[in-house]
């Protein structure tokens, strides 16, 4: 039906779009970085490079969590709330509970696993659609956090309701989680690198990773293949909760008090970097390095635009456009079927 010449041009078109899908996003990032490096002398300093990575570490780690939930076809709207919960719990444990930093870290991580467990309970056992389940969890834990701290930001040496001064304070070793560095490398950057590597190994180099993706692609097929579907979905949500609470630990150490508004802005950025991760390199499914690249892009845009004197509202627009383009690459252009699904049913 088609003449040979249209067939050839169609194939060339396919090759062009495949190339754009694979490299377009990387090219945008590299171009932005080059532009800032050339025009902004302060942008290319070592201090600034590590500063940007440090700034974006909590977002990137929460984004890894979202990516993990996405592998099983889920979504987690409670990551920002989980991180905020972690900030208040860490502050409460050290300042009111008078415990050392290590104890606070353990309590926070257990809390993160519990929140992930709650999400899993709602999604897997109670069969609430994941969007609604994690939204509910978000409200529950924001409320729980405020109850625990009486709606107040807990700070070192704060005065308590009975007129006495709080017994504990943020310990130096806890604060070092964000404020410390090994040589020139800030500790949050090291934590981020380690978690990204770990996530990459888990998703791409183990049979657990393959099982997670199998569940996300088609629950029924995965079940027939003998994969314990419910177990993997539960583990994905708990892993997401754990990562969100690690992001919260970094925020707590950065702020140095139990700021009740912490984590509020984390959800959308974490979601954005995970989605960028899906689209990068035309992979078409959640992955660790893509998520990291998405976070780097956010950091580059935020820092570069600020240095260039752009107001924050223009920055939001820039971020929106870049995300829009990422979505076009991944959903509209990609030859591969994108595994990301809305709700728990597979739409691909």
């Amino acid at each position: 039906m088609s003449s040979p010449s249209t067939l050839i041009s169609a194939r060339r078109g396919e090759r062009v779009s495949a190339f754009v899908v694979k490299w377009g996003f990387i090219a945008v990032t590299v171009a932005l970085i080059l532009y800032f490096v050339i025009t902004l002398p302060n942008f290319r300093t070592v201090d600034n490079v590590f500063g940007m990575l440090k700034f974006v570490a909590p977002t990137a780690i929460a984004g890894l969590g979202v990516a993990l939930a996405m592998t099983v076809g889920g979504i987690d709207l409670s990551v920002g709330a989980s991180a905020g919960f972690a900030v208040s719990v860490a502050a409460w444990t050290m300042v009111i509970g008078n415990q050392v930093g290590g104890v606070a870290v353990i309590v926070v991580l257990i809390g993160g696993l519990a929140i992930g467990g709650l999400n899993a309970l709602l999604v897997v056992v109670a069969r609430v659609p994941d969007l609604l389940a994690t939204l509910t969890t978000m409200f529950v834990i924001v409320g729980l956090k405020l109850l625990i701290v009486d709606g107040k930001s807990i700070s070192s040496n704060m005065s308590l309701a009975d007129g006495t001064t709080a017994p504990g304070k943020f310990t130096a070793d806890f604060l070092a989680l964000d404020r410390g560095s090994v040589g020139p490398i800030p500790i949050p950057v090291i934590i981020l690198a380690a978690l990204t590597l770990l996530m990459w190994v888990l998703l791409e180099r183990t049979r657990w990773g393959r099982a997670l993706f199998a569940v996300g692609a088609n629950v029924e097929a995965a079940r027939l293949a003998g994969i314990r579907v419910q177990l993997y979905r539960t583990l994905a949500y708990m892993g997401c909760g754990l990562l969100a609470s690690i992001a919260g630990l970094l925020l707590a150490a950065r702020i140095g008090q139990g700021d009740v508004s912490a984590g509020n802005s984390l959800l959308l950025d974490a979601m954005a970097v995970a989605l960028v991760g899906v689209s990068v390199l035309g992979i078409g499914r959640p992955n660790a390095w893509g998520t990291l690249l998405g976070a780097v892009l956010i950091a580059v845009m935020t820092t570069g635009f600020t240095m260039a004197g752009l107001p924050y509202y223009a920055q939001d627009f820039g971020k929106g456009i870049v995300l829009l383009v990422a979505m076009l690459f991944s959903f509209t252009l990609s030859r591969k079927r994108t595994v990301l699904t809305a709700g728990s049913t597979s739409a691909s």
Partner: protein
């Protein structure tokens, strides 16, 4: 067909990206050229380091720039900077305190000529401010309590002067030993500082505080009405109410009015805006006095403070911006309707005698 569509979308995507690239380079050029406009009203030439072709680089690290007060503050700071050959790089954390920490950290890494920090949390910012001082970067803070202010220019709007001015008026109106009510909230630095002054006045003037209530929410004015309404039903003989934050004051005025107690109960507030002026000037309004600064003048004053520091002409590292007490009688006698009228009628609001020099007059 499907392939053609795909190619079209790819092209469209590339064009969009190219366009954003252009937009951002335009932004960069225009912002740097804006800073070279010379000062217009100074009666003396700019001293070093302001007298070169290259603008002085100052990073302004804000906790939030949203709302009437903060927008006015930012506009005043920007206008003053322009007049003094200063290029301001502004970061706005939008109340995300972790972001403000990162913003300040990056500002320090960029080694500007000076840094201004506007609001923020002590525990979050103190270590970074100490780091900036150690790095030799002159730094000024506005309304930020520090545990170690060594080498830092501290500026604030004087909450003490705000509370004192309006409470002096209260005592003048109702006298010692009067029955009074108090509507405020705790946990907000400015409100806590005003509360200290209130307690002093209650003790010194033997005021009989018959109720104390109030809260700050997303809609403070509305949410305080039921609280004050209940308090007034219980204590209709109260003579004066102190509500030291204009959003709360508006709620109190509403509650007094709906209980038909105008004329019997006088309300004393803090802050001023065009909306507040309407409430104060309404027929039989119980809001008889308020105390305020002009946020634009304050923002400009902070920029002048750090500019004087850079020129080696700031002789006291703590700068306070005093408030002006404004009574309902004053407003009606001068037929003031707007903030602009008020600025003209009350020159003290412009802060033109605070942190000024021949080469650095206050912008109007």
């Amino acid at each position: 067909m499907a392939t053609t569509r795909r190619v079209t979308v790819a092209l469209a995507a590339t064009v969009i990206l190219a366009l954003t690239g252009c937009a951002q380079s335009n932004g960069a050029t225009s912002s740097s050229s804006a800073s070279t406009t010379p000062a217009a009203v100074a009666s003396a030439p700019l001293p070093a380091p302001f007298n070169t072709d290259k603008a002085v680089e100052i990073a302004l690290v804000r906790q939030s720039g949203a709302g009437d007060y903060f927008e006015g503050w930012g506009a005043g700071a920007a206008a003053q900077a322009k007049a003094a050959n200063i290029h301001l790089t502004i970061s706005d954390a939008r109340n995300d305190n972790a972001k403000q920490a990162s913003d300040l950290e990056q500002a320090i890494a960029n080694k500007p000529d000076a840094i201004i920090v506007d609001h923020g949390l002590t525990d979050t910012l103190q270590p970074l401010i100490t780091k900036a001082v150690a790095a030799g970067i002159p730094i000024a803070v506005y309304d930020l309590a520090l545990t170690d202010a060594t080498g830092v220019v501290t500026t604030s709007q004087s909450d003490e002067s705000m509370a004192t001015g309006v409470l002096d008026q209260l005592i003048k109106d109702v006298g010692d030993g009067a029955k009074v009510g108090y509507v405020s909230a705790t946990g907000y630095a400015a409100l806590d500082r005003r509360a200290v002054i209130w307690k002093q006045y209650v003790t010194e003037h033997k005021l009989d505080q018959v109720f104390s209530t109030g809260k700050v929410t997303e809609s403070t004015a509305t949410d305080n009405i039921p609280l004050v309404d209940a308090a007034l039903k219980q204590n209709p003989d109260v003579q004066a109410i102190f509500a030291p934050y204009d959003e709360i004051t508006k709620g109190v005025v509403q509650a007094v009015t709906q209980n038909n107690l105008q004329g019997k109960v006088k309300v004393y507030g803090i802050d001023i805006s065009n909306a507040d002026l309407d409430v104060i000037l309404a027929d039989k309004s119980p809001w008889v006095a308020t105390s305020a600064t002009d946020p634009a003048a304050v923002g400009a004053g902070v920029v002048r403070s750090i500019a004087l520091k850079l020129a080696g002409q700031l002789y006291k590292d703590d700068v306070q911006f005093p408030a002006v007490t404004i009574t309902q009688d004053f407003l009606t006698s001068k037929s003031i309707k707007t903030i602009t009228d008020l600025r003209n009628a009350e020159p003290a609001l412009s802060l033109d005698d605070i942190a000024v020099a021949d080469w650095l007059p206050a912008v109007s």
